[in-house]
Amino acid sequence: MSNEHTPLLEIRNIKKDFFGNQVLTDINFRLEEGQVLGFCGENGAGKSTLMKILFGMDVIRETGGYEGDILLNGQKVTFNSPFDAIAAGIGMVHQEFSLIPGFTATENILLDREPQKKSVISEIFGNRLNTLDRKEMSVRAEKAIDRMGVRIDPKMVVNEMPVGHKQFTEIARELSKDQLKLLILDEPTAVLTEKEAEALLDSIRGMASRGIAVIFITHRLHEILSVCDNVVVMRDGFVVKDVPAKDTNVEEITRWMVGRSVENAGSDSASVTDAGSDSRETIMKIEKLWVDMPGETVRNVNLEVKKGEILGIGGLAGQGKLGIPNGVMGLYEAGGKVTFDGKEIPLNSPRKCLDASLAFVSEDRRGVGLLLDESLEWNVAFPAMQIQNKFLKNYLGGLIKWRDEKAIHEVTQKYIDELQIRCTSSRQSAKELSGGNQQKVCLAKAFALEPKFLFVSEPTRGIDVGAKALVLNALKKFNRESGVTVVMISSELEELRQVCDRIAIVSGGKIAGILPAASPSEEFGMLMVSNVK
């Protein structure tokens, strides 16, 4: 890289923490005009946060801003809102579509930037009563579509489009902005078919040759190699590698992405896997499961869970790993067949699942997991009371049931001690606790049900390292001492490898493979990206 001229974009020493939780540390990279920069890393590596900083998203400012400098053409810039970033020539295509469903591609491409015709009425009442210049609109939309190089029908309405077209409409919208110098594509190929993805890569090359710099975030590593000039690999908030794409390969990038310390990670769990999980009986059999959970769609999953094991389910975000427990437990519409302990469990009926001694610690702990305004005692005892008539005193032959406050207090106190929940008393309300302690309450709630089978979804999301270790140990202990089968879903592979016996990797809504926890992380990495659609 030459130092004589100023690059289009230079990132200097960017740091960012969310309330003391460091997510980005000393990020540095530069990007020249017409260059394509590939960004990869596991979930939570900090890619999205970095892009949010670059695009001036509100969430960054609301959480205390960032440290370090962003230089555009050698000038230091501060974006107070995405509109500043757009004005400076940065365009971003987000993972979630930002399109008006009932509008045509043309209308969406030029949303709020429509060419207009003045009329007598608008002279009097202001510009918003200008009529739209439909002809000019289609000309400009056509031009943007041409620049993209992938044909889409400008007259097609968005909600009738296949997913790929929606993605291309978004890209065309960015390209229709004349000032565009830098385009950020956040996993644009995630929703595309093989052929569409090829077309997109072509179009990226085309943009680059016209002098537009592109930051390309993807989990499909071979795409990065085929289209990018440079690859930046991130892990745990650090840039671990910044190399020219031609000097590396998929295996190497995978290792940089996941490979903390490949050697010692498996050692802890190795001792528990040799129990020979194959010989154990199957406690839950999932056949042909589909789940319609937005953003976490599950397709045709077949899975067997052995009695007494801890099974991990891992995979990249949005590939469907969260859909599996939510579907089985009846929180989202699902189909297929689930057999538990020899009996078939009806889907779409949370109560039946709970009656069958299944329990679920949801990833959405504030929404689904906790009664935020109620005390810890209530939170811990409520489901057990509701479902199993525990902690109740019966009078008049069961006609009147009173809560057994003493028993509730005792059991809550027991879990507070066991899980080291930091609180002022067992009567403190749940919303006053920190994230980690709330998570522990969720676990206590599930433990109090004394289930035979426990789903734990993202148990360590958003909690600090100390709490993390405690939560994981509690799960392990619960499994080993009470013989409860545990299925743990997590985005963090390392944490699964610490706790689980076997790990299933979900990719593209399907189980891509099941490996013993001690397998090398490259193998997991390959599975994660195997079916990514």
Partner: protein, 385 residues
Amino acid sequence: MSNENATTKGNVLQTGQQKKKGNSLLNLLASNTVPIMFIIICAVCIPISGFSPAYLINEILTRMGRNTFLILALLIPIMAGMGLNFGMTLGAMAAEIGLIFVSDWQIYGIPGMVLAMIISIPISMLLGLICGKILNAAKGREMVASYIISFFINGIYQLIVLYMMGSIIPIKHTTVKLPRGYGIRNTVSLLNMRQKLDDLLAINVKGVKIPVATFIVIGLLCLFIVWFRKTKLGQDMRAVGQDMEVARDAGIDVERTRIISILMSTVIAGFGMVIYLQNMGNLSTYSSHSQIGMFAIAALLVGGASVDKASIGNVFLGVTLFHLMFIVAPSAGAKITGDSMIGEYFRVFVSYAVITIALIMYETKKRREKSQMAELLAAEQEADA
């Protein structure tokens, strides 16, 4: 390469459409349940009622002229995604205040109507602004909020009309004022204004009176709405109506756009109320406006509109069917049961029923669309296996 792409995508889309086609007739019936129901009711009631076609046409044209303008006022908030604007009652109240002043000043005929409309504009705008601001604070619950706002503003209207007019606000004429010296009478006669617009340019075809001038005014409003959809503001409203967040990200001022839509609706409703009352020929000071919103909304829904979609066609179909039922049902009811009250009872009951059914259908349709997604997923899996 890219061409090939387009064709494969085209194929995907086509198979999707073919699948839809099998259910298309059923879907058509399902999405037009309310109009079909009304056509059946009318078809049964017309012969029983024994009215002559000329009489029916005459009645429908009169009622069309009376109500259409009011119903058109509902279109703009629906476009902006704010649902059925029960707050149109606010505009009706503004129009009534205008008409009270005009009657007091004894300005008759068309000039009186125009003046009443002009007086109603600032009041409508103020009320629309208040309503719009409140609805922005109650996003997603606009309908219920606007319904309650209309009750709240009704209280203020009564305070002004019953206590302040004549005491603080000068009202001179004794035919308007209550004998006690302040407050407005229960009924204000608009005899001098009665059907002045309807009679202007009216033509008589075989005993059927066509209120041409009224229809011209309605036609102008329709043209305005068609034109308005093509303006930048109209486009912004459609965008806001479909997805507020996306519109905001694109730089559209969502809050302001929503307020403007309610404001416009209120002003149009005010004009509509003046037209409505000139046809009736008298103003029930304390009750004329109370069910205006309800009947206008019911008529629109009968025309096949839903909470998020309504067209000018829905307005005309709705006003025809709804009022046809109003005309024939009492008579048919009286013929069958021998009691003329049954028809009166029937029309109020049906209005509420229509609104309830339409709201339920809107929800079930949304749910059905959602479960279609799930079915698609299951089918896709079958195909894979």
